[in-house]
């Protein structure tokens, strides 16, 4: 890996976020790049408007299957707005308008005739604050995506599988009938992840999933992302560059609603191409 371009060598100065990120990167196994596999998610010229406000401007990017894309940028740069466009959550906001194409496995989610309700089962979402359904038990929460959609039958196998995938099974297997809200914050978030997995999505969108959690719970979630990567394609919004360095293969930097740069995580933090990216990752703003 090439060394970072502007790297203050003096130990008395505070390390930039990029340097901290590089430290994390150094501890990871190198990421293999597979160029022949077609992209799982492809975004073409995405624009999102909230009435007169042009919130997302001409964004195009692609995400390969079974990889993790981190979306970083200062507050208000449009990170959350961007990923919410990927499962058509803006359909529910009055005054919101989305233009452009979002392809998942070659099918445009915004094409005529596509049912937004059905597509949300293929593109799942985990939110910033854990939000288990308070009137349901742990078991019922995980199975909620299925039972609410009228898919009957015994969900015990699915629930166990998803709780295992979310690394929560051992902790809750004896109290599946307890309330979903009886768990700690970190456990609740993993419960929400299990719930999202139960409908068998192919893409998982995560909007700052660990920002409301303590460091230990955060570490568990990040470990989880590593495991989930083997079956799912993950796009994660994060305000922590170290977290991006720890979990992602590729990173996209957003600023003021525009995609400034996207590339391999290592490259973004050690050798960014764009001036604004460099300013951000070296901590000059944001």
């Amino acid at each position: 890996m090439t060394p970072a371009a502007p790297a203050p060598a003096m130990s008395s100065e505070k390390p930039t976020p990029a340097q901290l990120a590089q430290k994390e990167l150094a501890q990871r196994a190198p990421v293999s790049v597979n160029d022949d596999v077609p992209a799982k998610v492809e975004v073409h010229d995405l624009n999102v408007y909230f009435r007169a406000n042009h919130a997302i401007r001409h964004v195009s990017l692609s995400v390969k299957p079974q990889t993790v894309l981190a979306v970083i940028g200062p507050s208000g740069c449009g990170k959350s707005t961007f990923i919410r466009a990927l499962n058509r959550m803006h359909d529910l906001v009055p005054g919101a308008r989305v233009e452009g194409k979002v392809f998942v496995d070659g099918k445009d989610l915004y094409a005529r005739g596509i049912d937004p309700v059905l597509l949300r089962r293929r593109v799942g979402m985990v939110f910033q604050r854990p939000n288990p359904f308070p009137t349901m038990s742990i078991f019922e929460n995980v199975a909620a995506g299925l039972t609410l959609n009228g898919i009957g039958g015994n969900h015990a196998e699915t629930v166990e599988r998803c709780l295992r995938q979310a690394a929560l099974w051992d902790e809750v297997k004896d109290r599946l009938k307890h309330a979903g809200t009886s768990l700690s914050g970190g456990q609740q978030q993993r419960l929400c992840i299990a719930r999202a997995l139960a409908v068998e999505p192919e893409v998982l969108l995560m909007d700052e999933p660990a920002s409301a959690l303590d460091p230990i719970a955060t570490a568990k979630i990040e470990e989880l992302i590593h495991e989930l990567k083997e079956r799912y394609t993950i796009i994660i919004v994060t305000h922590s560059m170290q977290q991006a360095a720890r979990v992602s293969d590729n990173t996209a930097f957003f600023y003021l609603g525009e995609l400034i740069e996207i590339g391999q995580t290592a490259q973004i933090f050690t050798n960014p191409r764009e001036r604004r990216t460099e300013d951000y990752v070296t901590g000059k703003f944001g």
């Binding site: 803006h90 359909d91 529910l92 919101a96 308008r97 989305v98 937004p116 309700v117």
Partner: protein, 314 residues
């Protein structure tokens, strides 16, 4: 692809929305039905009576089919005035006690008796009034008032117990929970910072209340009183049982009288003619219009306070 109306993503959504709209419009339908039916039943009255004539005359004659509402208006207003005069100071004091002077946990417990008072049915209050309050007034209070204050016309006349004073007192107990619950809600929305600023200036608890809480909640408290007044005007059973049901106007609080809801309750089932029924419905219309205006006014005042002080002229 602008979203004008988000949420109608499929047939199930459209059906659900449709049902909700129907249910919502039903409220408007109910309101319309109330006004329409009152007017319909009252129609025969309009043949020989003008609105002004109806309101200002006292003669109530089912035999000759000639009706005037003044006696009942007077009775209703007098009892309501007594009840407000008695209930408002107590209610405000109580609300202040619950929200400002009592420790929080105690305050929460103290609202339970208020809720219990609200839950007692009107006819039980009437029973209690008839057999407990009326004799008490007749034997103790009214003679005492007559002895020391008999020079005021309000306290003259034989103490029979039944009458305006009895109704006013029982009404006061009945409207107390209404005024208290709304006042407590309004006082609770006073920003803590206002009170703390006053205390930081060295004010005592009471002064902080006068400086911060009362001015902020003033409009809301007025709203609460209006709601209580509305309740007092429309209260039927307890008043019917203790007011004496005598259609007369009298300056004395000890006298028996009659109120709008009481005469409707007593005469409607056996009303003799369409005009008679119409007159009673006319009384009902007066009641409806008055309580409608009071409630609307109260709502405006209470929501103005809850939205913030900038909307309310202190």
């Amino acid at each position: 692809m602008e979203n004008g109306r988000p949420g109608a993503e499929n047939l199930g959504d459209r059906a659900f929305n449709g049902i909700l709209w129907v249910l919502g419009i039903m409220i408007l339908v109910v309101a319309g039905l109330i006004v329409l039916n009152l007017a319909l039943v009252a129609r025969p009255l309009a043949k020989d009576h003008s609105i002004w004539g109806f309101i200002t005359q006292t003669r109530w004659d089912p035999v000759e089919d000639h009706f005037g509402a003044l006696t009942f208006l007077y009775g209703t207003l007098v009892t309501a005035a007594i009840s407000i005069a008695l209930a408002v100071p107590v209610a405000i004091g109580l609300s202040l006690f619950i929200t400002q002077f009592a420790p929080t946990k105690l305050g929460r417990v103290l609202t339970i008796p208020v809720e219990l008072l609200a839950a007692i049915p009107s006819v039980v209050y009437g029973l209690w009034g008839l057999f407990i309050v009326v004799p008490w007034l007749r034997e103790s209070i009214e003679p005492w008032l007559g002895k020391y204050f008999g020079w005021i016309p309000l306290f003259q006349g034989p103490p029979i117990g039944l009458g305006y004073l009895a109704s006013g007192m029982i009404l006061a107990v009945m409207i107390l929970p209404t005024i208290v619950s709304v006042s407590v809600e309004v006082m609770k929305t006073t920003p803590e910072t206002n009170r703390e600023a006053a205390l930081a200036l060295g004010a005592t608890k009471w002064e902080a209340v006068m400086m911060a809480v009362i001015p902020y909640s003033r409009a809301g408290i007025v709203g609460a009183v209006l709601l209580g007044l509305g309740r007092a005007l429309g209260e039927t059973m307890a008043v019917t049982m203790v007011i004496g049901n005598t259609p007369q106007i009298s300056a004395s609080l000890f006298a028996a009288g009659y109120s709008l809801p009481a005469v409707i309750a007593n005469e409607f089932a056996e009303a003799t003619s369409n005009v008679h029924v119409g007159a009673l419905a006319g009384l009902g219309l007066i009641l409806f219009a008055t309580t409608f205006l009071l409630n609307a006014g109260a709502r405006v005042l209470v929501t103005a306070v809850q939205k913030g002080p900038s909307r309310v002229r202190g």
